[in-house]
């Protein structure tokens, strides 16, 4: 087939190019700032792609807060409107969306996207436009250690996730532990601290490995753990890989004394996907539905009524982030971004997750604590720390069903 150079009519080409140029130079539209208009809070959230699972929980937390706050009279006497877009779990799309929210939609306030991979780039956009951003789903410290003034962390820092699981292993006299994690930003942020923490507790780290995102097969990894003689399996895994790893361990017929899977099992639907084998599995969460923080019981009740499922900690975190942001706005008394920023940096506030408090210099979270959860016969309970404990941990891990 021969394709000769194409004698395109100049009209067609020029029209196309002109259209492109026109589209490109279309600047922001002026927006009046009448006080009767609602206050717009903007965010990008992953509703499709790799982070869709957690993204939806997170979005629903935002939505519920906005609905309830509007019923209570809104903010600064104005109603609140939530403006969100789907970033498709793609950081470049996330950057574009925050640019859109800031320069095109002229939102008044910003809250964060879902996951560390999206929050890192998004906070940079907010910083450039000098708008504070209350992040709610990024536990990695690296995001906040880049000299930013306007980014605030709304989750406990990553290393805190795994500490209680290691303490528990130590308390029960275990010697050998295996660490595995998904090969993405957040598990790495946690995993980086594990060798040191293990050493301090005199625990022998016999496996220390990452597996790829969307990995399909865990058999050999499970075999490796079995052969290593590890007594505790400390995994940092999301819901799908938590189930995959669990099944693989079951299929190599290996029962650890302690089985911890950081994030995956904190999903309220974990039991449904994993079945009764989930009994005795430990997880970390910044939040639990049973936590006695102010407003938590109402939050769980309203969320379940609104969305027909239990909230998970992403929902509680995004809801709490909104509480913090609103308080900072109230104290600032206006939408002055720098005043809001200063209040976010110095505020101490009781939220669903506990006390919000950040290091004023970096925005790193120092107030929130981690909880250790355990599935026991189809229900999640807080088993540590003692202050929040609902039940004693089921220990050792009871093993697989047949």
């Amino acid at each position: 087939m021969n394709r000769l150079p194409l004698p395109l009519r100049r009209g067609a080409v020029l029209a196309a190019l002109a259209a492109f140029a026109a589209l490109s130079v279309a600047g922001p539209q002026p927006v009046g700032a009448a006080d009767s208009k609602p206050i717009v809070i903007g965010a990008s959230i992953s509703l499709t792609g790799a982070y869709a699972d957690g993204g939806k929980y997170s979005l629903q937390g935002y939505q519920l807060w906005v609905k309830e706050q509007n019923a209570k009279g809104g903010l600064l006497g104005r109603q609140i409107e939530l403006k969100t877009y789907d970033d498709q779990s793609d950081p470049a799309v996330g950057v574009r969306l925050y640019e859109k929210l800031i320069t095109e939609d002229h939102v008044d306030l910003l809250v964060g996207p879902y996951s560390s991979a999206l929050t890192g780039p998004a906070t940079n956009v907010a910083e450039r436009h000098k708008m504070p951003i209350m992040t709610t789903e990024d536990a990695a410290a690296a995001t906040f250690l880049r000299g930013f003034k306007y980014a605030f962390q709304g989750l406990p820092q990553a290393p805190r996730y795994v500490q209680s699981a290691l303490d528990l292993a130590k308390a029960h006299g275990l010697k050998k532990i295996a660490f595995v994690g998904e090969d993405t930003a957040f598990p790495h942020a946690i995993g980086a601290s594990v060798p040191d923490s293990a050493k301090k507790l005199d625990l022998d780290l016999v496996v220390n490995e990452y597996y790829p995102h969307n990995a399909s097969d865990y058999s050999s990894l499970a075999q490796k753990i079995k052969v290593s003689g590890a007594e505790a399996v400390i995994a940092v895994s999301y819901p799908p890989d938590s189930v995959g790893l669990l099944r693989a361990l079951k299929q190599v017929a290996y029962t650890p004394k302690e089985f911890y899977e950081a994030i995956g099992p904190s999903d309220p639907q974990f039991w449904q996907n994993a079945g009764p084998d989930a009994n005795g599995i430990l997880a970390s969460s910044a939040w639990s539905s049973e936590l006695k923080t102010p407003g938590n019981a109402e939050f769980v009740r309203d969320f379940t009524k609104e969305f027909g499922r239990m909230p998970d900690y992403h929902s509680a975190s995004s809801f709490s982030g909104m509480m913090v942001l609103a308080e900072a706005v109230k104290r600032a008394g206006s939408l002055d971004q720098d005043k809001i920023r200063d209040n976010l940096a110095t505020l101490h506030l009781q939220t669903l997750l506990g006390e919000y408090r950040v290091d004023p210099a970096t925005g790193l979270q120092v107030g929130y604590q981690m909880l250790l959860l355990q599935w026991q016969n189809g229900k999640q309970y807080v088993v540590a720390p003692d202050a929040f404990k609902q039940k004693s941990p089921l220990y050792p891990f009871p093993g697989w069903t047949h």
């Binding site: 087939m1 021969n2 394709r3 000769l4 150079p5 194409l6 004698p7 395109l8 009519r9 100049r10 067609a12 080409v13 020029l14 196309a16 190019l17 259209a19 492109f20 140029a21 589209l23 490109s24 130079v25 279309a26 600047g27 922001p28 509703l47 499709t48 790799a50 877009y85 789907d86 498709q88 793609d90 950081p91 470049a92 950057v95 574009r96 640019e99 859109k100 800031i102 320069t103 095109e104 991979a117 890192g120 780039p121 940079n124 956009v125 436009h129 990695a140 690296a142 995001t143 880049r146 000299g147 998904e182 090969d183 993405t184 930003a185 790495h188 942020a189 990452y210 790829p212 995102h213």
Partner: protein, 321 residues
């Protein structure tokens, strides 16, 4: 080739360069993303359109460019543009052995072998601590996105210029010849291996030059977004839609498809994939060779049969009957 069209293209590049500072953050982001797609599409079009080696893995070089830049900025403290240039050169250098091996595969073997290559390189980087593993590398946040935009505009213009040059050259003819039939081209004295490797090098250089800008733009380079299958596939879709192996195809396809895609995701996040995939299928049924060749055929038909293409033939017969 229409000289006025070329002049217009130069004018558009000049306008876009001058307009940068006046664009809103979002408009800049949209045009930037479109330019990334355009440049990727032009890069891909050389090896896959002209030479007929349908690659699903040119994003490998985009990722390599991004990582080379990140490492030169964080370790060697180079200016990122130097790093990005280096990224392009490293990509091209690596493309030489890679091309020599992969181009021995034909048809779908090459296509999916390249896809496998992208996955392999991604996994290798992901399992390397020096490259930041799955976390990736956080980059300095001081770079103005406008500078990244200008860099990318430059790369896109370069990619376009290279395409125009190839399209009119004897080299371009050789590539088309080997696309139609390698054996015949070989017997006619075309250095088949040399020609396709050179095309592959160009198709590696362009994404290699782009990757560094992308990393600086995101302030974070990590394996999943650096070796983004989405970027790869969208740029392919754009070229196929516009007209594969043509000068104007990637431009028309890139602009139209990125506008459609930008309009779709905002309104229908849940149905986005379905609509996008559905449109692609529909276009292929209606215009299997792309928009640009279809328009060209239409124009030729109106102006009388100036050239004979296989696609134009049945159409002509229909009008007679």
């Amino acid at each position: 080739m229409n000289r006025i069209a070329l002049v217009a293209a130069v004018a558009v590049v000049a306008v876009l360069a001058a307009a940068g500072p006046f664009l809103s953050g979002y408009a800049l982001a949209v045009v930037y993303q479109t330019l990334v797609y355009l440049a990727l599409a032009y890069g891909w079009n050389i090896i896959s359109g002209y030479a007929g080696y349908f690659s699903f893995g040119q994003i490998t070089f985009f990722g390599i460019g991004a990582y080379v830049t990140a490492l030169s900025v964080t370790n060697a403290h180079l200016d990122w543009r130097l790093g990005a240039l280096l990224g392009g050169l490293v990509s091209m250098a690596l493309a030489l052995p890679i091309g020599a091996i992969m181009l021995r595969l034909r048809g779908p073997f090459f296509s999916l072998g390249m896809l496998g290559l992208a996955q392999t390189v991604r996994v290798l980087i992901s399992s390397s601590e020096a490259m930041g593993g799955g976390t990736g590398i956080y980059l300095p946040v001081s770079v103005n996105p406008l500078v990244v935009y200008e860099w990318t505009l430059g790369v896109a213009a370069f990619a376009f210029a290279v395409t125009v040059a190839i399209d009119r050259s004897a080299f371009g003819l050789r590539l088309r010849a080997l696309r139609e039939d390698q054996q015949v081209a070989g017997t006619l004295g075309v250095d088949v291996t040399g020609a396709k490797i050179r095309a592959f090098l160009i198709s590696a250089l362009i994404p290699g030059l782009l990757g560094g800008g992308y990393a600086m733009y995101l302030t974070l380079v990590e394996p999943v977004s650096a070796f983004s299958t989405r970027l790869e596939l969208q740029s392919i879709v754009m070229t196929v839609f516009g007209g594969i192996g043509t000068v104007w195809g990637p431009l028309v396809g890139g602009i139209v498809m990125s506008q459609i895609s930008e309009a779709l995701w905002a309104r229908f996040p849940q149905a986005y994939l379905m609509i996008f995939g559905g449109l692609l299928v529909l276009f292929l049924i209606v215009l299997p060779r792309g928009v640009v060749p279809a328009i060209a055929d239409r124009l030729k038909k109106r102006g009388g049969p100036r050239s004979f293409t296989p696609q134009a033939a049945p159409a002509a017969r229909e009008t007679v009957a």
